[in-house]
Symmetry: C2
Subunit: 150 residues, 2 copies
DNA sequence: TACATTTAGATGTATATACATTAATTACAT
DNA sequence: ATGTAATTAATGTATATACATCTAAATGTA
């Protein structure tokens, strides 16, 4: 195991709370770097995957850009631009909302669903593999992260 | 407390390991959003702060760009560009390394140190405030994150 | 020495976040 | 009904990551 102290060549932390902030930032970066490798062969980014997952969860029912935004993991994501990228790739379609012409109805295409079919399997595999803690530790870690934001 | 399920409007997760991945991504985003507000008045980004901290830790001894890179929280950071931004702001200086003309000696300026003086206090305050868990829970959380990468 | 290899740093491009602003449309209040 | 406010999505700009490529300089070897 590579300690953070070693990874960033810092002798020690001011206190455990400061270390926790660094630990979160470092662990996130560690995760995301590996996620990128996973997604790369599929031609989409983790954020674009997030959008596709949201669309698939709609089970055919269209959703607006702002609703996608609200459901994203990172609330600062720019759903409008991510949607545009995915549209160019043919993974979703955009239609004018009939009841409100400001809104746009977004839904996943057959191609989008096909891409997810394989990719989701790989993501699940990756997640299972990445998290090699005991069930108990996973639950505890989830709990503590929830508490941290509490 | 806002559960992730509510925050991203997802009914449930496939399993706790999948939830943990999402939890990490979501908690990170939650943290970074608040960090950005903290740094904004100081005119530097969290990443630029990371560079300045590394330089301050050198206690006057210059350091190369690649060494900065190695010590950064996100190993994919582009230290060369971050250094350039900080140089423009007068917070660090770049000097040609006498023993190897490929390398560049970076060191923090008096202005950089002055900026850190106040900012570090605010960062410590923020961290203490952000992490409102018990000492025991902080230690446990640090441990579990370490294990996760183990 | 001469040439190939490696290393350090800079730079180009694509993607994404952060935040402000704009245009079009809808809702609301008078 | 009309003017104002609010909402939706798009867009502009700055910062940063991700990854490839380039140049200059150092290193290593025949």
């Amino acid at each position: 195991m590579v300690s953070i102290e070693k990874a960033i060549q810092q002798k020690e932390f001011k206190d455990p709370k400061n270390k926790l902030i660094v630990n979160l930032l470092y662990t996130h970066s560690y995760l995301v770097t590996q996620q990128n490798s996973l997604f790369k062969p599929y031609g989409i980014s983790p954020e674009q995957y997030n959008v596709l997952r949201i669309l698939k969860g709609q089970k055919g029912k269209p959703i607006t850009v702002s609703s996608i935004q609200e459901r994203m993991l990172n609330k600062m994501s720019n759903a409008s631009r991510l949607v545009e990228k995915l549209k160019i790739k043919g993974l979703l379609k955009r239609e004018e909302c009939p009841t409100d012409r400001r809104q746009v109805d977004i839904s996943i295409t057959e191609e989008g669903l096909e891409l997810l079919e394989d990719l989701q399997i790989q993501v699940d595999k990756f997640n299972k593999n990445f998290v090699s803690l005991s069930d108990e530790d996973v639950t505890k870690l989830n709990q503590l992260l929830d508490d941290l934001r509490g």
